[in-house]
């Protein structure tokens, strides 16, 4: 299955409760030995790695679920990292129905702070990115609800994760022509870029659409935090790439989709 990436922002522990029920449903007949590998990367290095075998027989996980993986915040203040989580079958047997990433939330917490939740991203082969590349031949990420406000203490940063072996350059450009240039993310590293650089010196607030482009695929998240203290995080979300899907469908396909929705709302189609 395609490995997934979860961000590890500085100042928070991260709890990863892998969805073993979904792993099991993804096995063709509910049988197989699945090897899970979790690796933590920061500043170009793999700083922790864990491999576990999970045996499924007739749809049951033998021995029950294992403990969740907990990353205890131990990076230098201001240094972030990322977690790579992968599932593969022993001996690479083709036993999975699909290689899609299994979506799950990681829980980020720290005593004295409110938790927040965030989903995982595809290491590669993300469907919206593929449709974007197929349609445009170009990769551009976007986010419509970026907001910084000195007065209300609303800060925001973009996390750039480069899980690949080549360094990358990125740039943030807003729809009203502001920009943050020369963002460099070394291989196997993560960078937090504060959007306060979009504000002019005497400007109190800005909100709007931003767009991100880079010399290679980059995994991005938005982090909404205190303007004064970026280690107090309220929210952590994925961005939204420009969608290469059509706004219209042929009438017959439109009808099939409507019928499918009608059945789904009543529980007659899953």
């Amino acid at each position: 299955m395609i490995p997934s990436i979860s961000s590890l922002p500085s100042g928070y522990d991260c709890l990863v409760a892998s969805p073993f029920d979904k792993v099991c449903k993804n096995l063709l007949d509910g049988n197989g030995v699945v090897i899970q590998k979790i690796s933590i990367f920061s500043e170009g290095k793999c700083i922790e790695s864990l491999e576990q075998n999970h045996e499924f027989i007739d749809g049951d996980l033998i021995g029950g679920n294992s403990q969740p993986f907990i990353w205890k915040d131990q990076l230098e203040p201001g240094v972030s990292g990322y977690l790579e989580n992968s599932f593969r079958i022993e001996d690479e047997k083709p036993l999975f129905r699909s290689n899609n990433v299994l979506p799950f939330y990681s829980i980020y917490s720290k005593p004295g702070k409110k938790s927040f939740f965030s989903d995982n991203a595809y290491l590669y082969a993300s469907p919206p990115v593929i449709s974007q590349i197929a349609e445009y031949g170009q990769y551009i990420d976007g986010y419509a609800v970026a907001r910084v406000d000195r007065e209300r203490d609303y800060g925001e940063s973009i996390i750039f994760i480069n899980p690949y072996r080549k360094p990358l350059k990125a740039e943030i450009i807003t729809a009203d022509h502001r920009s943050i240039e020369r963002i460099r993310v070394p291989p196997h590293s993560s960078r937090l870029v504060s959007l306060k650089a979009l504000l002019n010196q005497d400007e109190i607030r800005w909100s709007g659409q931003l767009q991100i482009t880079a010399t290679n695929r980059v995994i991005t998240f938005s982090v909404k935090h205190s303007f004064c203290d970026p280690t107090i995080i309220s929210d952590h979300e994925h961005l939204d790439p420009y969608r290469g899907e059509p706004t219209h469908f042929p009438a017959t396909r439109w009808f099939r989709l409507r019928l499918g929705k009608w059945l789904m709302r009543r529980g007659w189609l899953t």
């Binding site: 083709p94 729809a175 767009q211």
Partner: protein
């Protein structure tokens, strides 16, 4: 071209020139698609055909492509998906659908669909998207819809019209409007002002949004987004479409000193329904058998908020171990997890 627009395009072009962002998708079979592995497109496709694999990573392992400098991974993803879509029979899977495909059952059905789809006119596909609205002391909920082409030089977006309905907790109708959003424009609409403030610390409602493009184009950036702006922090999430009935699960931690956890249920069905909320389901080596079970009545198209309160005894037993909450609904329903500070001055919101 206006001066401002020209400056913008110059910025875009200079960056693109520097960075060579575009992906060459001219399918010349002799082109090298991974310079490190000296791999040609034709060899890539041959290997793909021979392996009959659904796994992109297996293909990369076999060809050694994309694993040295990784710069070509994005191109390889494209070629992988394109080759699969051109010749799906080549890629094995033991599931029923593919067995039927091999027997020629589905292709004939798809063939008929393809013919029908090619002769019928296009219709705008605008399924309803839902947004929960939260109102409280110094809490605002904002809707944002943008219609930008971003850095793409070739315009593929279209002007859109968004139909917006706002409904109260009991599902009653509060507001309806159709708003046009031209290319390059943004809609920002404050939603919470339509709700009546009551004694409960948080009052909820929902917005129903359908977005129609004026002519066939690409969806681009038009997915509605919403923000919850509170006294000490902001959070945001994109809108979602409908889901069927069944169980929704969230995994949370009980930390009453640091946070309060709420569930927001938006009944997207046109009839009333009841929802059952049960917790805690411990993930690992469960020792707590007794479950709290609460029933929630949802009006037709109504929205309810429910706080997960573990109480002192359960809090002592759970400590900070993660546990799951199950929400069972009879009909289509959107469920959100709202996590706030004890003072309700900062939030995050998530969905399943």
């Amino acid at each position: 071209m206006k001066k401002k627009e020209k400056k913008y395009m110059d910025t875009v072009m200079s960056f693109e020139d520097k960075a060579d962002l575009s992906v060459n998708i001219n399918n010349d079979s002799n082109q090298i698609i991974c310079a490190c592995a000296n791999l040609k497109l034709s060899d890539f496709e041959k290997t793909l055909g021979r392996m009959k694999t659904q796994s992109f990573s297996a293909l990369l392992s076999e060809t050694k492509a994309g694993s040295t400098c990784t710069a070509c991974l994005l191109d390889l993803e494209y070629f992988f998906v394109e080759a699969k879509s051109r010749n799906p029979k080549h890629f094995n899977s033991d599931d029923k659908t593919n067995n039927l495909k091999q027997l020629g059952v589905i292709p004939s059905k798809q063939h008929i669909y393809k013919i029908l789809d090619s002769i019928t006119p296009p219709i705008a596909w605008a399924p309803t998207n839902f947004i929960p609205i939260i109102k409280g002391d110094n809490i605002e909920t904002w809707l944002t819809i943008t219609n930008h082409d971003l850095l793409f030089r070739e315009r593929k977006s279209a002007p859109i019209t968004s139909s917006i309905e706002i409904r109260a907790t009991d599902g009653s109708f509060l507001f309806k409007d159709k708003i046009k959003i031209d290319l390059g424009e943004e809609l920002k609409l404050r939603l919470d002002t339509y709700l009546k403030f009551e004694s409960h610390p948080l009052v909820v409602g929902a917005a129903y949004i359908n977005t129609y493009a004026k002519f066939p184009a690409m969806r681009g950036t038009i997915r509605p987004q919403f923000e919850i702006l509170a006294e000490a922090g902001a959070c945001a999430l994109h809108a979602q479409g409908d889901v069927g009935p069944g169980n929704t699960w969230f995994t949370i931690q009980n930390k009453p000193l640091d946070q309060r956890i709420f569930l927001i249920l938006v009944n997207t069905f046109h009839k009333p329904q009841s929802a059952k909320i049960s917790w805690p389901f411990e993930l690992y080596n469960s020792s707590i058998k007794t479950k709290n079970v609460e029933s929630l009545q949802l009006s037709s198209r109504g929205t309810e908020i429910f706080e997960i309160n573990c109480g002192d005894a359960l809090t002592a037993r759970l400590e900070d171990r993660p546990f799951s909450v199950k929400i069972s609904t009879e009909r289509s329903c959107r469920v959100y997890l709202l996590c706030g500070t004890p003072q309700l001055n900062r939030f995050s919101i998530d969905h399943r």
